[in-house]
């Protein structure tokens, strides 16, 4: 994706070694039957390594490795993809980023307490941004936050799929006010809130849907900026970071599928020759290598653009989601094809990565949605000129 600093290399390697020892690939099938998809101890130890704290300033109990929090988090996400690792990485970090902006708000004290528990891995907080059909378009937030009693709020609408299991004790929920978007800290046992665990493609990643029916919240539930414009802008930055996390994870999963299938082709014999000696197979690997390199390159470029706040970041993120979404799936399905029958068995590990890539490809905007968004961005830049 991008050149790592020595500190980042060390950090990434620590994450890699921890996942490989604490949760090796052959544990995935056993974890599939568990409620949260991981063992609590695994997540707490991951939190100790820094998985939850990168987007949070030091003053709020967090800290990045390199001073480039988005890039540091992308490295963890890449390793999550490379190992199809369990754990609520994206949601937890985005919820943390939101809570960390609560400094001067009325609920600052409580938010800091929840954030502290989140950072240590004791508590999982889900990040509820996207919404189910028919309001499932990228960036579509119809859940409303109207005025409630005593200066509080009343939330109504639906959210999902939210990346969080039944262990989530809190949710940071994005909702619409007349003057822009806001985020609210909602306890999972709030009156009027129904949390439905969803069945899904990924063996270890859990999703749920939230149905909010006039959920009454105190004024202290407001997370982050009180001003509508500032709150909407902060949320937009969170979505950018979420896309970087997702893209980095996808390119990690692509890398595993590619490396594994290359090994297979080099050692599998057919008609007295290795698979890798057939030009048809070689040329497909050349195309896959190109997709892989291109996906990692555009993900790295987009991640750096988000990190520096470059004006090209919106275009780059949508281009990356379109490219990685389409070619990541083609790559992993081609890997299945080259494996033959074993590639579609439950026994082989390939489906763990196929599942992860497939789930990532169409959440946070489908490739087609990002194509349309990109065309609009090009047009908008034209108008600015």
């Amino acid at each position: 994706m991008f050149e790592r600093s020595p500190d980042q290399e060390l950090f990434e390697d620590t994450t890699r070694r921890f996942i490989e020892s604490a949760c090796p690939l052959d544990r995935r099938r056993a974890l599939a039957g568990t409620k949260s998809g991981y063992e609590p101890d695994y997540w707490r130890k991951g939190a100790e390594l820094g998985w939850t704290s990168l987007l949070v300033p030091e003053s709020a109990g967090g800290g990045s490795v390199s001073g480039h929090p988005v890039l540091d988090l992308a490295l963890v996400a890449y390793q999550f993809g490379l190992h199809a690792a369990p754990g609520p990485l994206l949601g937890t970090n985005l919820a943390a980023a939101a809570l960390a902006r609560s400094g001067g708000s009325p609920g600052a004290g409580q938010h800091a307490e929840v954030l502290g528990q989140l950072l240590s891995g004791e508590v999982v907080v889900g990040w509820a941004w996207g919404e189910p059909a028919p309001g499932d378009g990228f960036g579509c937030v119809e859940t409303s936050a109207s005025d409630g009693g005593g200066g509080g709020y009343s939330l109504s609408g639906s959210k999902g799929p939210v990346e969080a299991g039944p262990e989530a004790e809190w949710f940071v929920v994005a909702a619409r006010r007349p003057d822009g978007l806001r985020q609210f800290l909602v306890p999972s046992d709030a009156s009027g809130l129904t949390v439905t665990a969803l069945d899904g493609l990924d063996l270890t990643r859990r999703y749920c849907r939230l149905d909010l029916d006039e959920v009454a919240l105190p004024a202290e539930a407001l997370v982050g900026d009180a001003d509508g414009e500032a709150a909407s802008a902060a949320l937009a930055r969170q979505v950018e970071t979420a896309l970087v996390v997702q893209l980095a994870e996808m390119t990690g999963a692509m890398q595993w599928a590619f490396d594994t299938t290359l090994e297979w082709a080099l050692h599998r014999y057919s008609f007295g020759r290795p698979l890798a000696s057939y030009q048809e197979i070689k040329h497909r690997f050349a195309d896959m290598k190109m997709w892989l390199e291109a996906s990692q390159a555009v993900t790295g470029t987009a991640a750096r653009a988000v990190d520096t706040g470059s004006s090209s970041r919106d275009e780059l993120l949508s281009a990356a989601k379109l490219y990685v979404g389409r070619h990541g799936l083609e790559l992993v399905q081609d890997c299945v094809q080259i494996h033959g029958g074993i590639g579609v068995t439950f026994e082989h590990d390939l489906h763990l990565f196929l599942r992860r890539l497939t789930a990532d490809a169409v959440t946070l905007g489908t490739p087609a949605e990002h194509a349309g968004r990109l065309a609009d961005l090009v047009a908008a830049h034209e108008e600015e000129k």
Partner: protein, 416 residues
């Protein structure tokens, strides 16, 4: 102390603002495939490029990565990348870049003797010598080591006979780098030698080839008893394939990543790229159609991913993280994405790109471009060859089986 990239970019920016004109709307027409230029206009562009190149040389901005003893600046690829940023939006000498700087000058730098480098490199950097590649032959396209053009030793000279093809601009060029057979009794890769051939000498006959879009840029050369002094031999006798492999590596960097090529980056010239597609779609009230947006989004993605990929691989080659064979990945992406984008352009243009008012060639452009679409996946090494390089040289997969290895070249089966 090497000048920092930031200081260099600031100095280059200031110099360019003083000394180069901004690129006007006609600048796109300097592209090598412009179809409607007359020969006189072509020659005027060539002369203009020589002049602009001379200005860059005098301003200390030619040959950024060329050692100073040969007239270059002795800087790094990062400085070249900075110049590429700084020169964006200016008129620049497009015709001196390729193939003169890359691959020809790059090969001379890699294999030339001190005397050869002193003689040619400064002249190239000043715009005095324009070079061409005498590589492909009518009998062999991708199989360049199967060259039949033969050089026979005669005292201190060589006598060249045969024919080369797909040489763009040979009719106005000065010199050519030529891969010739010097030994028919050894396997094909071991009987080749590279020569520097003056194109303006007796025995060299240059024919123009008309492409389907009307371009007459490509040439075929016929050599009849052309005499070449041994001092124009590049590399050892019969070791030409060593030179050739490096030559083709440099050729693949033409698609991006060459340290010797000056090429504007960033926002493309007016009249090209995704913004132009948006303008065209709006002109006919079609921009809000979902299928049109999908197509433009995909087109823009190809542009952005290509830039990101080129930068990433060039950086990794420069740092030694990957072998220079990885340049084939950039070449493959360039071919595949150009093909896709020309299809998108054409489909968006619709019937208007099939028939247009006399003279309204901008409307027909996408149609003509589509007819020439595959050229981007053929010229400069086919995408099939780049797939072979990626699978065999980058990924270490087994080499293709061939029938011409370890037999004397004169015994290799060939057509006719």
């Amino acid at each position: 102390m090497t000048e920092s990239v930031e200081d260099f970019e600031a100095r280059a920016g200031a110099w360019l603002a003083e000394n180069l004109p901004r690129a006007g709307p006609e600048f796109d027409r300097y592209g090598p495939a412009a179809r409607s230029r007359t020969d006189e206009q072509d020659l005027a562009v060539v002369a203009r490029c020589r002049e602009l190149q001379r200005r860059l040389y005098d301003g200390g901005l030619a040959g950024i990565c060329v050692p100073s003893e040969y007239g270059g600046q002795g800087l790094t690829p990062a400085h070249q990348a900075a110049l590429n940023r700084a020169i964006t939006g200016y008129e620049f000498p497009a015709f001196t870049q390729m193939p003169t700087f890359t691959p020809c000058m790059a090969v001379i730098l890699d294999f030339g003797t001190e005397e050869q480098k002193k003689r040619h490199i400064p002249a190239i950097l000043k715009g005095e010598e324009m070079w061409m590649q005498l590589l492909s032959e009518p009998s062999s396209g991708s199989d360049v080591a199967g060259a039949l053009t033969t050089a026979t030793r005669d005292g201190d000279e060589w006598v060249l006979n045969g024919s080369k093809i797909w040489t763009s601009g040979a009719w106005w060029a000065d010199w050519g780098l030529c891969l010739a057979r010097t030994n028919w009794d050894v396997p094909k890769h071991r009987g080749l030698t590279v020569f520097m051939v003056n194109l303006r000498q007796p025995g060299v006959e240059i024919h123009r080839i008309e492409m389907l879009n009307g371009s007459r840029e490509f040439c075929q050369e016929f050599f009849t008893d052309v005499r070449i002094p041994d001092s124009c031999r590049l590399g050892e006798v019969d070791q030409g394939w060593t030179v050739g492999v490096r030559w083709m590596y440099h050729e693949r960097t033409v698609s991006g990543g060459s340290p010797y090529v000056t090429m504007p980056v960033g926002r493309r010239a007016e009249g090209s790229g995704a913004p132009e597609l948006v303008r065209r779609a709006r002109r006919v009230g079609r921009f809000d159609r979902p299928d049109v947006k999908q197509a433009i989004g995909e087109y823009r993605t190809n542009e952005l991913v290509r830039a990101a990929l080129t930068e990433r691989i060039a950086e990794r080659i420069a740092s030694g993280a990957v072998s220079d064979q990885s340049a084939a990945i950039i070449r493959l992406f360039g071919g595949v994405s150009s093909v896709r984008n020309m299809t998108i352009s054409f489909e968006l243009a619709g019937p208007g790109a099939v028939a247009w008012d006399p003279g309204a060639e901008d409307l027909g452009g996408p149609g003509i471009g589509f007819l020439m679409r595959q050229a981007s996946s053929i010229g400069g090494g086919t995408t099939e060859m780049s797939r072979n390089v990626i699978s065999e040289r980058v990924l270490g997969m087994p080499r293709e089986h061939t029938l011409d290895r370890d037999v004397p070249f004169r015994d290799v089966p060939r057509e006719g």
